[in-house]
Point group: C2
Chain length 136, copies 2
């Protein structure tokens, strides 16, 4: 399917990474399979190179992390007035951060949990593949 048919332009990996590291607010959607369903949750994040970090409480997202499960993280920007925008998908495995140096560094980052309450766990997603599109 060509971009002229769809009004969409494929983004390069470099452009996807740039959008991941510069997008504000740092809010995206984390999606993964759980119990036969696809779950999707809004998540604050910090992207450092091809790593995406999240903070979370114990629960389904963390359970997924413990299993080093394949997840998808999506960010987008949609301008409703101008009807233009872009979306980026990152694919990779997610796991809990346990390294002390990595945790010390993360605690200095502007990484807020989306929900209030105690969010003592940091998750790290290692991106292995990206895909992005921009509305032309």
């Amino acid at each position: 399917m060509s971009s002229t048919e769809t009004g969409l332009l494929e983004l390069s990996d470099e452009e996807c990474l740039r959008l991941l590291t510069t997008h504000r607010p740092r809010l995206g959607r984390l999606a993964f399979m759980s119990g036969g369903r696809v779950l999707v949750f809004p998540m604050n994040f910090v992207a450092i190179g091809k790593l995406i970090y999240f903070r979370t409480a114990p629960g389904s997202k963390l359970m997924a992390a413990f299993r080093a499960q394949q997840v998808t993280f999506e960010i987008d920007h949609v301008d409703d007035v101008w009807e233009e925008g872009w979306s980026v998908l990152a694919f990779g495995r997610i796991r809990q951060v346990t390294d002390d140096d990595e945790l010390d560094d993360l605690r200095k980052r502007p990484l807020r949990p989306w929900a209030a309450g105690d969010r003592p766990h940091y998750l790290r997603m290692d991106i292995d593949w990206m895909s992005g599109r921009r509305i032309t």
Copy 2:
């Protein structure tokens, strides 16, 4: 996991449906499995009762629809300043709308495709289960 632990409050089905039908802008994220990966796309939508309608061009989303595949639709509202918000997940099967009366009605609705270009196909998602949470 209790709501006091997570700072999250479960929403009733009635509240989820109310948010689906009143949320503005009419933008959410459609997620489904394709080729072993979870794909997530921003989509404009119209919710009428327990039905959610989309417009799309031929492509992966429509391919999913043709197979009447199980999909997840997510909407959320996150107030970054006040750190409050909510998210709703709807689960169900999606298929192409082919009924002429249903199509006539849909053409009168404020249902715009997120991307430019020819979007001649209407998709209908029949919600079979919902889940929602609000930050307390």
